[in-house]
Symmetry: C2
Subunit: 402 residues, 2 copies
């Protein structure tokens, strides 16, 4: 069992929490001054832990273990959503640091912009596996204020720096600890989740075209209300998806915009952002087929036409069985009966690293399931238990004693 | 039959069209420089027609007939919606002017802000019937940019001017010609609509409260999606209203806003603007009762609570039978078989004047039913026919020969 200084691990977390502090959380948007300050903080900590620290052209902060392998890669992301939680991403980075400090042969990485402040998303992890072309960086802009990514990189002092690529041959696997961001562990009274796989998110846009018109002067019989058609389609999705979904599928309409959006004007356009998630590729394909059928039927019956646009389709990532066994063994040894296997409903850097090497994730509970909100939190004792299980699991996996 | 110079009437309309011109329409928001220029134009035209012209403290432009009564009051509004049509409102003002020019004993008025650029709506017509308290002017702000009404009035040079009030005893009735803003006349191949009544608009806000959360980490079973609850309620309204509505009722959802409105976040709030219209008070009450029942049922079944807020309830206004008979007689004489009785699905200044005196409206066709859009239009020959019917109807009503 490796010597983990959980006190130091917790104090590191609380130290990082003060950078970009916002109420009980943090506001560290990617490449902002607070985010860059946290990256410099991380590099100092890496050096203190004996790692060779660097930052690359997309903002990935990398701490290279100076000794022999086989190595593990471990980490997460260090930027935050706007005015959000102190643990989302930070937990994985600081726990990885603690593994290195404990003497395990671990490279530590904070992958830039997992939170998707810039178009494209998962810029850092995609870059480090060689799946981020220069042209995409050229095109990408900040989703909130439209700042070109190139401008943000330049202002952050990263322009011209080369971008790192992992050498899969160096690693036995990739490990990421993360808060659950749901309530399943809390509801079941458990402390540890061994992640079985990471869902893929398939994002869609429904663009409905009707006829803008006067709400009073246009009879019900003649109007082409794009908002009404959109709403009926969403009602059909609400009725149909439970019939064909997987046990843990989720589907969500996050945004509806009616145009012009005035109380006395029949909407001429409706713009809907819809997504679904599952860890099974087959289930994702079933949900896509259902969505296409429902749009086709809507276009057959309704007065307004709907265009279905695929925005993105990530690949589900199954976690490595051997890594999972090591984590399960560690969990049973240190938190007997207080752990379970479970999928991750959220996307993580791990799903990209999983394309190049075996990968696994560990969850700790989220109080009230709250995340992407400054009230996000996890009890210190659960953070410490997660740290110990992570370290023991990493050690077992490296030793091959599964 | 009064001598109407329809050529001059049309050229006045086209002259007014050049003030604030936008594509084939106009952009004359209330109290803007273009709007104030149009009011000054109107005052000059009134004086040329022998009327005593003035502008009051809310922007109403009034042209008082210098001779004996009994009088008619006639008019409409002269400002426009943003980047909208050249005839909406302007037609009623310029046709009223033509009546005065033809020697009929008519006071002419352009009522300020019928289009509701400022909170409250129908400021001018409500003011002139004594239903606009100073405190409401103090509180009102521009709906688009938040400018306080007091500031706009001051910048327009209207601060400190007294506000006019009509003396109902002076008038036999109020007359307003307007474009239909629908397609019923065009579809039926008719030229004239004698309006039977003006619908009341009852405006509502549905505020749904759920729990903002992560779209992936929160299972379907535990989420409280405010957007989903809103959508199901709107679907229930869509199913129920046809069962209880009147023959010409309309209902419209003009605006839906989900908060935070991000693709990967379950909406914690939904904000919906919904309205319905009818000319029958009983039908309006039925629709309100149905809406309340549906909200109550939604609150019983759904995980998210909906608050139903009444924003405004106008009063339906029935047109005066004697005035209608005069207009029907004129229509049959001048456009035999090319006219019909019909309600107005849109609100108009006439519905407020109707609280103080007999009132009536005349419709001319809208090409394609288009209004609140710069492409709004009506054929010159239909405008001219409307003018002639209006004049003949006014003359008949004044003479009492119904």
């Amino acid at each position: 069992m490796p010597e983990i200084d959980t006190g130091r691990f917790l104090s590191d977390l609380h130290e990082l929490r003060r950078i970009g502090a916002f109420r009980t959380g943090v506001h560290r948007p990617t490449y902002s001054p607070q985010d860059m300050e946290s990256r410099r903080w991380l590099m100092r900590k890496m050096e203190e832990a004996g790692l060779e620290a660097s930052i690359d052209g997309i903002g990935n902060v990398f701490g290279r273990h100076r000794g022999e392998g086989p190595h593990l890669l471990a980490g997460s992301h260090i930027e935050s959503q706007n005015e959000a939680g102190w643990l989302d991403g930070a937990l994985g980075v600081v726990s990885a640091l603690a593994l290195a400090r404990a003497g395990l042969p671990v490279d530590v990485c904070a992958f830039a912009d997992e939170e998707g402040h810039f178009e494209g998303g998962f810029l850092g992890s995609r870059s480090i596996i060689g799946e981020l072309p220069e042209e995409e960086i050229d095109r990408s802009r900040n989703r909130t204020d439209g700042t070109p990514l190139r401008d943000a990189l330049r202002e952050a002092g990263l322009a011209g720096l080369p971008r790192l690529q992992v050498d899969p041959a160096r690693y036995k696997g990739f490990l990421e600890m993360h808060i659950e961001q749901g309530t399943q562990l809390e509801q079941a009274g458990l402390q540890i989740g061994v992640v079985t796989g990471i869902v893929a998110i398939w994002q869609w846009r429904l663009l409905v075209t009707g006829q803008q018109d006067h709400a009073g002067g246009t009879t019900m019989a003649e109007r082409k209300d794009a908002g009404l058609t959109a709403m009926r389609l969403l009602a059909a999705i609400d009725a149909e998806f439970p019939r064909i979904c997987g046990e843990r599928s989720t589907w969500t309409t996050g945004r509806i915009v009616l145009e012009p959006g005035a109380p006395s004007i029949i909407p001429g356009k409706a713009d809907v952002l819809f997504q679904f998630r599952d860890v099974s590729l087959e289930k994702l394909q079933d949900m896509e087929a259902a969505l296409r059928r429902l749009v086709q039927e809507s276009n057959r019956r309704e007065r307004c036409q709907t265009e279905l646009i695929s925005i993105s389709k990530a690949t589900p990532a199954l976690c490595d069985p051997a890594m999972m066994r090591a984590l399960q063994g560690a969990a049973e040894a240190l938190a007997p009966g207080k752990w379970q296997n479970m999928p991750s409903g959220a996307g993580h850097d791990a799903q990209y690293l999983a394309k190049r090497m075996p990968a696994a994730m560990l969850f700790v509970p989220s109080i009230g399931g709250i995340s992407h909100h400054w009230a996000e939190n996890t009890a210190d004792e659960d953070l410490a238990m997660g740290m110990r299980v992570l370290a023991e699991g990493a050690a077992r996996f490296l030793a091959g004693s599964n």
